[in-house]
């Protein structure tokens, strides 16, 4: 998160922070472990009123950003979601909103409306199980046209909140290009299989589409021409995940610093042991670096800068790798208590761990960075 926020940005962040503290305190999060959706509909609807789903949608389509940099604004919310390990399909809904909001010519007005109002959820079906299944060029789900119908065949996983979604925004392949289709979750041929997750409240499903047939107007944007849009959505999602993880890192760091001051060992506070002090110094450095690179990536995507792709993968690779190590070191400094279910640290560890694993592990993003470097050189 940037050091200096506008008045609007500050209030956006604080309203959401207050709302999350009040509606989903940790005890509530623990209760939600048993909840099929992982969140209450009403919680989500009220959240939407705070702007949770509108920042990536142009004003004329019912959305609107504060600073012009919609993603930059959205990272402020993601940051708070991370700090509170908050539930709810924040990333998929924002991606769906961005996709429908960007559609030209305008279409699918009603689903977008419901999304903005928080009365409906739309999830994004992007990832596939194959090793290349987290890159647009690696997608294999087939989208073809048969007369007046568009036909989808393939499997998507993991898909967040699929069972809560009225529609699924499915990104698939049409020959050499990509196509996105808005699929009603109850369309014939769509089946959902629940997955387990490291997170307490985020739920994922395997979504199978077998000969799913829809009218052509279910297509979002241009048939076979959605490649750039999908790449853009992926960047938005990766930046939001990174920002959420940085929020979780920040909260875990704060908790652990507090613990180090309060906890005495051999008559001295933990914070007085040099070896721990130096680990805190490293963690503080990684935390600031995480903020720096995530904000840079958000700004680059908002500005459509040429280094956006690289910065996005750098943020994903760095925050994923160092965020994980940092959270684990927070656990280590807490000792056994930090591994118990009653302690809150794992709520943050889970979120960072989840975000590190979906949409491409750090390892895949390191390769992506190398790929971009080589392209750049060969240009």
């Amino acid at each position: 998160m940037q050091f200096e926020l506008t008045e609007d940005q500050r209030s956006l962040r604080e309203t959401t922070a207050r709302y999350l503290s009040n509606t989903v305190p940790v005890d509530q999060l623990r209760k939600l472990r048993e909840h099929p959706a992982g969140y209450e509909e009403e919680y989500w609807r009220q959240g939407a009123e705070l702007g949770w789903t509108s920042l990536l949608v142009p004003e004329e389509r019912g959305g609107g950003s504060l600073s012009g940099g919609g993603l930059g604004d959205a990272t402020l919310l993601a940051h708070e979601f991370g700090r509170h390990a908050a539930p709810g399909p924040f990333v998929p809904c924002n991606i769906a909103a961005a996709a429908l909001g960007a559609e030209d010519p305008v279409g699918h007005g009603q689903p977008l409306c419901d999304l903005l109002a928080g009365s409906a959820v739309i999830s994004w079906c992007f990832s596939e199980a194959s090793p290349q299944g987290h890159r647009p060029e690696g997608l294999s789900l087939d989208v073809s046209v048969d007369g007046a119908e568009v036909v989808l065949d393939g499997v998507k996983r993991p898909v967040e909140s699929a069972a809560q979604a009225g529609h699924l925004l499915v990104s698939g392949r049409t020959g050499g290009g990509l196509t996105q289709v808005l699929v009603p979750t109850d369309a014939p041929g769509v089946t959902l299989e629940p997955m387990q997750s490291v997170d307490l409240t985020r739920r994922f499903w395997v979504v199978r589409l077998a000969n799913v047939r829809l009218p052509l107007d279910a297509v979002v944007g241009e048939l076979g021409g959605a490649g750039a849009q999908v790449e853009h959505q992926l960047r938005l999602a990766l930046v939001l995940l990174a920002a959420e993880s940085v929020g979780a890192m920040e909260r875990a760091f704060d908790m652990t610093v507090e613990w180090a001051f309060d906890r005495y060992s051999f008559g001295r506070p933990l914070a007085s042991y040099q070896e721990l002090k130096h680990r805190f110094a490293d963690m503080k450095t990684w935390l600031e670096a995480g903020h720096a690179v995530t904000d840079s990536a958000a700004a680059a995507v908002d500005a459509g800068a040429t280094d956006a792709a690289e910065l996005v993968s750098v943020a994903a690779a760095f925050v994923g790798e160092y965020g994980g190590e940092m959270l684990q070191d927070c656990v280590q400094i807490h000792g056994g208590i930090g591994l118990t279910y009653e302690h809150d640290l794992h709520l943050l560890l889970r979120r960072v761990t989840l975000n590190r694993a979906i949409l491409g592990t750090p390892s895949l993003h390191r390769r992506r960075i190398a790929e971009l470097l080589v392209e750049q050189e060969e240009r």
Partner: protein, 426 residues
């Protein structure tokens, strides 16, 4: 009745013959890695019952307590004989779960410090599988500072009254007896006011609470002791000299499965089984991916080195070339290694590490292992403590300044009364 100690070879042959004839076969993987955490209470009780029976079989067949003196029901043989027995158990059932902490450190401490009467009462019972023991050592407020125990024992004539709380006890709810470190003198520095007792776990004054770990496991317990009465005859070692016992206690604890008192099939790896690293890569379809190969190779390398290091240091201590303190070296290496190898398994699982279905086989739940990654760096004394021991006791570097060494224990700073809750709160 054999006369004179039997030589290792013939003992080994008898052991193999017996195992083949009388022991049920078992899939080694049954015992591999961290014990399963997904058992119901009933299933777990049943397992423990089974292990008690197995222990009884070992006793009756004359293969229990190999290194335990014969006057206490043991065989009075050598560590080499124990190793021979461990070597004979490959592929057979044996009482794996009840070895630690019952046989080490508890039995070891009884043999080393127990009175004649205590030994005659408890050692045979342990060898017959009738008494399972655990250790009331760590405390909620204590962390690494074991000698800072706050559980108090107040003398009243020929008995003691204990009050306080202990934590991180494995399977207290199905154990019978326990070894307990308590404070008997608050007016002297912390190491000089401790005393060790033994007590039955299931009695009115002891409330046992099972702790849920973040992965759902409930293997650990916390105990609350309220006015627990212990006869002075159940005291181990001298009053206020408990730390002498404590030092050996922690030494035996570090030995774990290396202890000559522990019976454990040498064929069974007590770490995450290496073969499965390549199984993970295969399941992830990355067997031909050099970066996956490097992860598999690194994990395997660490496991192999950890084993060889344990051997080397064990021999060095045995040969008195190294001090007991050197046990901190393999402990440190195993801790950091287990954290790294779990991370590698998670890494190999890729996206499946974050969310999975049962159909994902070996890739499923690697994320949960990763969440628990630090277990090996915390349990049984943190890696930080091991590093202190190595630098101070082995390399002889200046001790950390502790503000609790020369002051009466009651005056030791204990930090803000408001102990941190570890809650995200508002």
């Amino acid at each position: 009745m054999r006369n004179g100690p039997e030589d290792v070879t013939s003992f080994s042959n008898r052991a193999r013959a017996w195992a083949t004839a009388d022991l049920p076969e078992a899939d080694p993987s049954l015992y591999e890695g961290a014990f399963r955490t997904n058992l119901t209470e009933e299933q777990e009780s049943a397992e423990i019952e089974r292990e008690r029976q197995l222990q009884r079989m070992f006793y009756e067949a004359g293969f229990a307590g190999v290194c335990v003196p014969r006057e206490y029901g043991g065989l009075g043989l050598t560590p080499d004989h124990q190793r021979a027995l461990n070597g004979a158990l490959a592929g057979y059932e044996f009482p794996a779960r009840i070895q630690v902490p019952t046989f080490s450190p508890c039995l070891a401490i009884l043999l080393e410090f127990g009175t004649e009467e205590q030994k005659r009462t408890h050692v045979p019972a342990i060898l017959r599988g009738e008494e399972l023991w655990m250790q009331l050592l760590s405390e909620p407020g204590g962390g690494s500072d074991v000698a800072g125990a706050l559980t108090s024992a107040v003398r009243d004539g020929d008995q003691w009254m204990l009050n306080g709380s202990k934590i991180w006890t494995t399977g207290a709810w199905w154990s019978d007896w326990s070894l307990c470190l308590a404070r008997t003198n608050w007016d002297v520095p912390k190491h000089r006011g401790l005393t060790v007792f033994i007590l039955p776990l299931h009695q009115p004054g002891i409330e046992i609470h099972r702790i849920e770990m973040l992965n759902g496991s409930r293997e650990f317990c916390q105990e609350f002791l309220t006015d627990v009465i212990v006869p002075d005859s159940d005291r181990i070692g001298e009053v206020d000299k408990g730390w002498t016992v404590g030092v050996r206690w922690m030494f035996h604890e570090r030995l774990l499965y290396e202890s000559p008192l522990v019976t454990f099939a040498s064929s069974v790896s007590t770490t995450f089984a290496s073969a499965s690293y390549s199984a993970l890569a295969r399941a992830a379809g990355r067997l031909d991916d050099p970066s996956a190969q490097e992860l598999v190779g690194e994990a395997r390398m660490l496991d192999v080195v950890a084993g060889r290091l344990q051997q080397r240091i064990g021999r060095g201590i045995g040969a008195k070339v190294l001090s007991d303190q050197a046990a901190a070296i393999p402990r440190l290496f195993k801790g950091t290694t287990s954290a790294r190898t779990r991370t590698i398994a998670f890494e190999l699982a890729g996206t499946t590490g974050g969310s999975w279905t049962a159909a994902d086989g070996v890739l499923a739940e690697r994320g949960l292992d990763y969440l628990m990654r630090q277990t090996g760096c915390i349990g049984g004394g943190t890696t930080e403590m091991a590093r202190n021991v190595i630098s101070e006791r082995i390399l002889g570097m200046p001790r950390e300044r502790s503000l609790d060494r020369e002051v009466p224990f009651r005056d030791v700073p204990r930090g803000p009364s408001s102990s941190p809750t570890g809650r995200l709160g508002g």
